[in-house]
Symmetry: C4
Subunit: 287 residues, 4 copies
């Protein structure tokens, strides 16, 4: 079924980050939708509710930040110490060339996202830094991801270059939206747009895997202009898909009733579990 | 008179969207001009008038949204099921190529505009979503239109590429203006600029039809640089035309007197009819 | 001294718009500097002074708008009806090519600037339109100027293309600054930046005339890369020059004392003359 | 060890501006971090403290501006009058070519930074000009630096062009951030981002020196695509380094206690010395 071990590995190498971005996008879509609903319901509630939800928010942010860090650090290490990783060797002196630059580049990307997560942790656990710092670091992390991809494509086939260029649209889009959030923090539209673009990035990584290193062994004609045109249109369909997912989650979240009691209960009995269960329910409810 | 059936079809294929964008542009120019006038007169009116005009606004938005949807859904279906449409077949397995990608691309564009219309409906009938969502979706729809055109032009003749590139200026311009409206909602200048660019897009579609698939059978030299220079200038004249139309409608709308009585009457007796009649009067008044 | 009549004409064709932009830039630098000073002094003055200065402002704007119109309409006519103008003929049917497109392009540019002037007149004489409309039209006029230049350069020599590309930096810069003024009206920095860029454009037109159609008959090697590098640097010097001029005028304007008496007098006895004299004095005072 | 005198000179020619930008970036990181801390502590202090710190700020700005001027004027002169400088000769009439354009270009860059420093001096010593003028001039100075580099690279080897293009990212980034500060003055994130990008620029100048004119005499293969990919990644590491430096300084500055007494003392007994010592302490404290 697979052409070879290498192709299979590369397919997984695209599916893995794709899955992570999909999860991140869904998480953000759910988080910001629920907050937006809470904010609208809160006008009816008391001050104590408001304080409670603010501390809930902070705890969610801390959880998110620590998850990002605990995912990026092993990711960096894995890229270095897997079977054919560079093991922190940067230059192969025997053959006079750079050693496995792709692994190093992926490590660098993980590093920036890890830094963004760490920054988010610092911002939300201490009062030392201004709040908007987490968005600025996120914008830088996305920018660097796109920046490294940009100089990654030299000398590849036309279709290969094209599918990666399409990826750049959403990566730089996310960088721009995150940067705008530095000045317009709490704008629900920007937050949901970021979530949509992240889901788009995730599903597009899967698409790249299927187009370039298809597990079924099918090969696309890299020089056919019709393939280019189809892929461009396909990208738009991924965007429609991600927009609809985010919208459905957003609408579903408004159907959930928040009452102060449950809100207090959340804080006591495993906040994350309940929220994840809710998100799952919303997702199941949709399909 | 026509070189062939195919050329005629392509001419109609440019004239049709052109007409729709022209109508949309004129509608927006009229709507926002009237609102701006009402807003200025309202400072003299009572609270009840203000409430009345707000519900009028909402009804107009709902009508606009439903019109867009009822136009885009048949458009999508027509692209699929016309005589030589793909009928939802995406890949021709017998000849191993993608099936009528142009129809599919047009369907995709309709899909995004339909989505923008549906979003506008949801925003203005329920309170679930933030208001600015309609502009964000509009910005995305225009961006996708330009995005698909951008990768549409490979391997065509110089003049053909050029007239479509000029189209991109106003399409991306509309996307940018709509995105700015997310942050500066109700800015009359941005709204009228959007209307102007939409009229420009509509009239330019007609121009493309006449240049590339002229019904009179005249053919332009696709490689003559003088033709390029003339077409560029011609584009500017279309812009002047659209700016003047929007300005005239805007000025004419200030001559119409709004009194609370008629405003209440509007709500009772066929809102749309009267408004369309007014817009027609304004247009007749101009020429 | 001149290589031929045609070169001389082209030199004048660059010097003339250059002079007009120089005058416009100096006028703006003076106008906004004086207003800024008045505004700062006004906090000490009475309400009547404030009203007086506001009506003075409006009258200055009206004078500016009408000057622009009375300059652009003859400009358009001159481009059409000079000795070798197209006289409103667009297409030469005998030889089957477009007729004197350059004159038509210049007419188009005049048209947009004339429209911007007319809009400024309408905005400042009636209350029908929002104030920021004058800046929006100015932004469009500058954008169209750059847009037409952009497709003007096909097939010329390297240095010729380069000096015109440098011009585009300040033209699009002015368009961007004017567009920003729609949202940040009255920001003295944007106003002075616009004035500086306009002076830069004016002096650069003169420079282009001297480089490409030097009256002394000297010819530059169009293919020498050193010339390109020198011209780029030269452009920066023009910018320094224009920045220093605007700054000096700005500083000098703060030395002038405004008292309510003279302010009232201005309105009665030839506003423009006195102001122009003042500007001249400032300029003389500098050099 | 060195290949020749020329290479050594060019290495120093990159190390020197690199060091200056490093110092400027560290200075800004320290200055804005301390101000941010002071601002947060000030809410506990009295009015007199607030006034004191405002005058301290102004004095710091004046010192900064005068330092920039006293560094740029000799820089300009040095570029002209060093052993092989052009000594103000612009054109070599004997050989008919421009004379040492590189020195002239560097002089021009110094000129713009000097102008920015002088403007900062004027803004902070007099009340004549609006505050944001210093940022606008800084934006223009960075823009011109990037602009001159952009047309500097014609006909060089691939790697040479690439390392300089990477430099442009941070130079234009600084220009953009400074321009945004015109509208968002006092935004600590923009200020620290500017500091980071300046440190990045400084360390990248050193990197360019080591890559292109290595003092160890090692030569990089200018045509190897792997080198390109490594250099791109290396640029990201420089960014991480500069972000971490700024963050550490920022966090360290919050550990310093400011009390009104010491604040008053600062004004009396050599402001700059103490601050520099503090910055040094912070730096030592970090490593």
């Amino acid at each position: 079924m697979f052409e070879g071990v290498r192709d299979y590995k590369t397919f997984v190498g695209h599916a893995l980050p794709g899955s992570f971005f999909l999860i991140a996008g869904l998480w953000w879509a759910g988080k910001y939708s629920l907050w937006y609903t809470t904010l609208r319901n809160k006008s009816l509630g008391s001050t104590s509710t408001r304080l409670a939800s603010r501390s809930t928010q902070r705890r969610l942010e801390v959880i998110e930040g620590s998850r990002i860090v605990t995912f990026c650090v092993p990711g960096m290490l894995a890229e270095q110490f897997v079977a054919d990783g560079p093991r922190l060797h940067l230059y192969d002196y025997s053959e006079h060339h750079w050693d496995r630059l792709h692994n190093w580049q992926h490590s660098t990307m993980y590093l920036f996202f890890g830094l963004a997560g760490a920054m988010s942790l610092i911002v939300h656990t201490t009062d030392a830094a201004p709040l908007a710092l987490d968005r600025l670091m996120l914008a830088i992390a996305f920018f660097i991801e796109g920046f490294l991809f940009l100089y990654h494509l030299h000398g590849r086939a036309m279709l290969d270059v094209h599918v990666h260029q399409l990826l750049l649209f959403c990566v730089f889009g996310e960088a721009m939206v995150s940067f705008l959030e530095v000045f317009h923090r709490g704008n629900i539209l920007l937050e949901l747009l970021r979530a949509s673009l992240t889901i788009l990035q995730g599903s597009w990584f899967w698409q790249i895997g299927f187009v370039l290193y298809s597990p079924s062994g099918a090969e696309w004609d890299q020089m056919d202009h019709n393939n280019m045109m189809f892929i461009t249109m396909c990208y738009c369909w991924h965007l429609v898909f991600s927009l609809l997912v985010v919208m459905n989650m957003s609408v579903a979240s408004t159907l959930i009733k928040f009452d102060p009691m449950s809100n207090a209960w959340i804080q006591e009995a495993g906040l994350l579990k309940r929220l994840l269960r809710r998100l799952t329910l919303i997702l199941i409810h949709q399909w």
